[in-house]
Symmetry: C2
């Protein structure tokens, strides 16, 4: 692992560009499906869905489906529809998440629930979710349907689990990992795994791509958690300390709480319960995270999962696709710095 | 049509009992699937889902699947899982509806969103929706998946459409029918149609059962709309005038508004905009509905669709199943009186 990471510093910063270039043509196909299939005679649906879908998302999950298909030398076009289905599921969960969290900003823009209200966000999410299953049915693979319906159920379970853990500073690292494995990593895993299904590869290939996506998803989320406390203006659309002020119990908080003394723990409890939301409180939180090494070790955990993602690709032969998938992991991890 | 209706008065009141008795054994099978598959390690999920699923619903939609399968002499057991999938979709939409409408009561009980909050209701709805697709995938019929994913998308479109029409007293009868065709009748139609798929019958049979369910669903909704203004304590868990006080533009209001004079129209506009919510306002509304024949003609419309539902069954041979399905329509229509 260390080698991989050290290697990075000796060349240009890792980026998503190789993956973007690798799948550019395919991604146009996916975007065409997305645009066409988010339409409805009910005008509010494309209006609201378009706000989020056109609104600066990286298309990370569909890109993973496309890049994994490329890794397997898949030559057909089935993955365009399926990658669009994955993006619809993702968009539906974002719409519902913002309602659940009462969020007002995403990617630097006002959220749909603020502009059109919670009811519209809930219902358009339901529409996109249903539409994603229609796309899968058109493709006709029961295996893909199984993978993505299972992933959707797991995501919802993870979200409810997180609701239960909300503001509970005693959440354990295990429980937190199980939550993010469900709510974030399951769709990354499914997005990668379905590429093996369309390319008609065997179970070990499916498993390998699933493991790549799952570990990348966990790494991604952990880095996001760290970024919330260390990012500056460069990082996209998210203010420093949002998680802190919302009382979100993420891994940095779990580690700092577990490693802290009684005074620290009281501070974190009060903070997660919403009684510590000033700028001074955030400064103190950052100091505690620094003193306990919580951010440093959240990043170490992220690198652990990132390395597992990279190693899951071990059996695949080298080439542009593999290099792009590896660099996507390195990019995910490098974002905090 | 008149004959059918007149016939009723000469015997016992129509009831759902024949259908309930017809499918009793199968319904136990469906309930077993429902109970087993609403479980999750995340305890809040079965707790919340159970509140609504065990909470006195009639299981109307799964019963329709079972009764239609019986009409076709289907001998297998696939329909238990699929009827459970239909009930999960229905339950998911109820959970989201109550969030969207901010409802506090359903079937005389406090709603899940009041007890556990909107976030939990949204997410458990998502879980049940995903789980319904998992059940369909286990069954393995792409045709059933197509029918129910399409129905789910149509339901969501209908709900968004209704949101757009909210409190708009100028909503036309056509637009209103298109809304309830989507949000209510589509799932009734799908519940019936999938019975033809599991029984491996041809397209005309599918179409006939679809037409039965669709027309029954429309009749059901129109009678519900009328009941809101005329029911007494007998009718289940719903207070008189709820729709009125919520500003819901239903067919009685559309007819009374269209047939009224300028003063009437002003009254309805104010009422639908939430500026007429007193008991005196409700009394005045009832008087206007009476004077314009709006309730009487909403019921006439309901009987029209009910008769079409019955006639859709014309080609099927008589017997207990057909009699039960016909009486279910008569029951639906008789509820208001």
């Amino acid at each position: 692992m260390t080698a991989t990471i050290h290697q990075l510093s000796s060349r240009r910063a890792p980026s998503l560009d190789p993956m973007v270039q690798l799948v550019a043509a395919d991604l146009n196909g996916v975007n065409a499906v997305i645009l066409e299939r988010m339409q409805s005679e009910v005008a509010l649906i494309p209006e609201l869905a378009g706000h989020l879908i056109a609104g600066g998302g990286k298309r990370m999950r569909p890109m993973l489906t496309l890049a994994c298909a490329r890794l397997l030398d898949y030559q057909g076009g089935r993955h365009h529809k399926l990658a669009a289905a994955v993006e619809f599921i993702h968009t539906a969960t974002l719409l519902h998440d913002d309602v659940v969290d009462g969020s007002g900003l995403r990617r630097g823009k006002r959220t749909a629930n603020i502009i059109w209200g919670n009811p519209a966000s809930v219902l358009v999410g339901d529409f996109l979710f249903s539409r994603s299953f229609e796309l899968m049915v058109e493709d006709g693979s029961l295996k893909v349907l199984r993978i993505l319906s299972r992933a959707s159920a797991v995501i919802a379970e993870g979200e409810v689990d997180q609701l239960t853990a909300q503001r509970r500073v005693e959440t354990s690292e295990d429980q937190y990992l199980s939550i993010i494995s469900a709510k974030t990593a399951a769709l990354f895993a499914a997005a990668c795994r379905i590429a093996a299904v369309v390319a008609e590869r065997d179970e070990p290939v499916e498993e390998a791509l699933d493991a790549y996506g799952r570990n990348l998803g966990i790494a991604f989320q952990l880095v996001d958690d760290a970024i919330d406390y260390v990012s500056d203006a460069q990082t996209m659309g998210k203010g420093v300390g949002d998680d802190f002020r919302d009382g979100k119990v993420t891994l940095p908080v779990i580690l700092a709480h577990a490693r802290g003394d009684d005074a620290d723990r009281l501070f974190w409890r009060e903070a997660m319960e919403g009684r510590r939301i000033s700028d001074e409180d955030l400064t103190q939180a950052t100091a505690l995270l620094e003193r306990t090494g919580a951010i440093r070790d959240t990043m170490a955990r992220a690198r652990h999962y990132g390395q597992r993602a990279i190693d899951a690709l071990g059996a695949f032969r080298g080439g542009k696709a593999k290099a792009a998938l590896v660099e996507a992991v390195e990019f995910a991890i490098s974002r905090a710095y």
